[in-house]
Amino acid sequence: MALTTYVKGRAYDWSHAIGRASANGTGFNYPQTMCLGTDGDIYVANRGNENNFGMRVNHIKVGGPGEEELLAEFATYGEADGNTIWPFGVAVDKNGEVYVTDEWKSTVSVFDAKGKFIRKWGTPGSGPGQLKGPAGIICEPNGNVIVVDSGNNRLQVFTPQGKLVAQCGKAGSGEGEFNKPWGITLDKDGNIYVADWKNHRVQKLSPAGKFLMAIGRYGKLPVAPNAFAVTYLGPFISSVPATERIPAGILNHPTGVAVDPEGDIYVTDWGNHRLCIFDKEGHPLTHLVGDAQVMSKWGQQSIDANPDMMKAYRRVQNIEQLWRFCFPTAVVFNPKTDQIIVADSQRNRLQVYNKVRDYVDFQANL
């Protein structure tokens, strides 16, 4: 794919990658979700694993290429208050407090902007106000918090102190029903968008939780005849395009969703290893597949410290696999910078694109 994608007056330009595989410090460990901070910064919830126990939330300054900085790490692995077993969702409220869901403990922990534990709430169960495997989380402008109560296939709205305000949704595949939902976001009007993971769609709900629209239907990307899989579940890399046309609007286990100020909708199409972009009516515009042709700053540090790595890179015949998304889980849009930031989960990095508003096309006969 091209570094710049131009479609219907919109240009998406690959900017840079951030991060590397790391159980702590400057890198990520299987990000599940992320959210914007209040100042162009970003919080990433890392799932980790039972070998390195790299579960944590890291707080990152994004900036332009090479400007990334690690600001803090918290919600690391453990049973105690302020620790997590399976961190999943992360959200920031207008005061800068950070909310982190724990999918295993079925709790929401709250931290200050520097990662100091403040309080927690949530008990396991299926009753009103109880949680079962909470996933994504988002803070509303009024201060309330919406939790994707994934195991109970519903959304629950809480006050910042954890008092139940409202709930909507139930298990199923109909309008307003969910099947193991994952990520959540709001648009500027307060409408709610949920990545309805096992229903292979994104649902748009009104601020009151009324169903408004569904985006996407199940489908897998066609695979070119000579493609090979980077993992046994893809992505599939090929030197020639697939002969079969990609059906419009298909999704395979979507995980994350973001909306920009114009209402364009960005969906991490996890199982198809891409970012799908829809207009505000839900019509497909294009998709991005990952274009990390330049090594991230922290990634380059790993290579510089291990000369054999660079020797190996120089012998690789097809480096395209390195650029592509591998199970991207989350996306955020920063309206201040017009950056689209994608959590490229299996590659333990973020890929940053710019939405270019004043793009002028080049002369075609160059």
Partner: protein, 468 residues
């Protein structure tokens, strides 16, 4: 046959062709019929495959786990425990045992899992195709150094093991054949993969380098020509020794324990007629595995081989977890759980050598026996687990139980497990200390449930329970 005999036979089939089954499933399968169940097992496509997306949602690092346990084991264990295609998974384990490839050298569970997936996909297909595919499998190529087998400098590791452990067995070829086979596989290698830093693992891809291939004439097992690797495999599978070798492996894995592989050219099969029948089926069907497996599972020698096979650690752990239930989703702690076979002497995805694991009585030593008993006892003693609760519910439905009835029923519902008189006497003596089992009050239910769990723990600690 009585209903109990039918259940016992079906339990035997499911222990061998899968990893056991609970009583509800056994009853449903008996109603369906033995031969129909065999056919269902032979056609796994009738059931959905394991959902890898669910695994990756909860344990994303099990996709590309790199070289350090346990996340590769988590991936494999999840498939073993949750598959609805038990024979497909059992055949993958069989081929993992035959084409043994290990993380100790490969240092890359991703590639080993890819190999297991290959065995799932092709394990019940054609052996010749599988042998050719595994010859091109980068993990195998690295494991047996074929990437160092050059036209100008032959490395015999792959060529030797192809003949000794993967097709013919010792005594059925010469050192010259090893050399010539190895020459034919020169140039079979893999391309440089993207290295692991900084973004994690990427796959190998098979590559044939004609410029590194020895194009000279070879003489192999009496045939002469300008052979490449495919020609060697074509000649190998035509050898009578090949069919016999693979079928003896099948007998050892599915029917009854044989001596270890290196002794096979010295000691005859335990049941030569059975191996011969399988061999003829294999040859008549041109290396297709499905007809051989059908012949095996429907044979009298298989049906009479109950408890003549010492459970492998994988069978112990997976069979227990499938019986007790509660592990359909990967949860925290799955890492330790998935390493349990290793603690019993079978480090999945990391066999001790290219020869695979030694089986039968060699699974047992004082440490591994304790690991087996402790693990299974901890599981079946947990009466909150759904499978154990199902046993309790069935006992409850029987009403008041005398000690002898409790012992008989627990033995029945755990297998049926067949035990000797001495074992039964010990179990009954314990049950007599509890007296009658009653379910009429909450206190009685609590006591009876606890005693059931304890009796199940005693049963799984018996010698007899170690056999399948």
């Amino acid at each position: 046959m009585t209903h109990h005999d039918d259940i016992a036979l079906m339990a035997h089939l499911m222990r061998r062709a899968g990893f056991g089954a609970g009583r509800d499933e056994l009853e449903a399968r008996v109603a369906k019929g033995y031969d129909a169940t065999v056919e269902e097992l032979l056609h796994p496509e009738e059931h959905p495959p394991v959902d890898p997306y669910t695994l990756l949602r909860y344990q994303p690092s099990s996709l590309l786990p790199g070289g350090v346990p346990p996340m590769g084991n988590v991936n494999y264990m999840y498939y073993l425990v949750s598959t609805q295609r038990p024979l497909e998974e059992k055949m993958a384990l069989f081929w993992h045992h035959v084409f043994a490839t290990g993380n100790s050298k490969v240092d890359n569970y991703d590639q080993l899992l890819e190999q297991i997936d290959l065995f799932r996909e092709r394990g019940m297909g054609n052996y010749k195709d599988l042998l050719l595919t595994i010859s091109k499998n980068p993990t195998m190529i690295f494991w047996l150094d074929n990437n160092q087998n050059h036209g100008t400098e032959v490395n015999e590791n792959w060529g030797r093991e192809l003949l000794e452990l993967f097709s013919l067995g010792a005594g059925n070829y010469t050192e010259v054949d090893v050399r010539e086979a190895s020459r034919a596989f020169t140039g079979w290698t893999f391309g440089t993969k993207i290295p692991r830093l900084p973004y994690g693992r990427f796959p190998w891809k098979f590559e044939y380098r004609g410029e590194d291939h020895d194009d000279g004439v070879k003489t192999f097992l009496g045939h002469t020509g300008n052979f490449n690797g495919e020609d060697i495999i074509n000649i190998v599978v035509e050898q009578p020794a090949c069919a016999k070798f693979i079928c003896r492996h099948l007998y050892n894995f599915f029917v009854a324990d044989e001596p270890q592989v290196p002794a096979w050219n010295l000691e005859p099969p335990r049941d030569p007629a059975a191996v011969e029948m399988l061999t003829q089926t294999f040859r008549a069907n041109k290396c297709e595995m499905r007809p051989v497996l059908r012949a095996l599972f429907t044979s009298d020698f298989f049906k009479k081989a109950r408890y003549k096979h010492l459970k492998s650690p994988a069978e112990v752990v997976v069979g227990t977890l499938r019986l007790t239930g509660g592990y359909d989703l990967p949860k925290p702690g799955y890492g330790q759980l998935s390493m349990q076979p290793s603690y019993m002497g079978q480090d999945l995805l990391n066999p001790p050598s290219v020869e695979g694991w030694h089986t039968g009585q060699e699974w047992i030593n004082s440490g591994s026996l304790m690991a087996r008993i402790n693990f299974v006892a901890e599981q079946v003693g947990n009466t909150n687990l759904p499978g154990v609760q199902a046993i309790v519910d069935r006992l409850k439905a029987m009403g008041v139980l005398e000690p002898e009835q409790l012992v008989d029923s627990c033995l029945d519902l755990l297998g049926p497990v067949e035990v000797g008189a001495d074992t039964k006497k010990v179990l009954t003596e314990q049950a007599k200390q509890w007296g009658q089992i009653r379910w009429d009050t909450p206190a009685h239910v609590e006591a009876a449930t606890k005693q059931t769990g304890e009796l199940l723990q005693l049963i799984v600690a018996t010698r007899e329970y170690q056999f399948a």
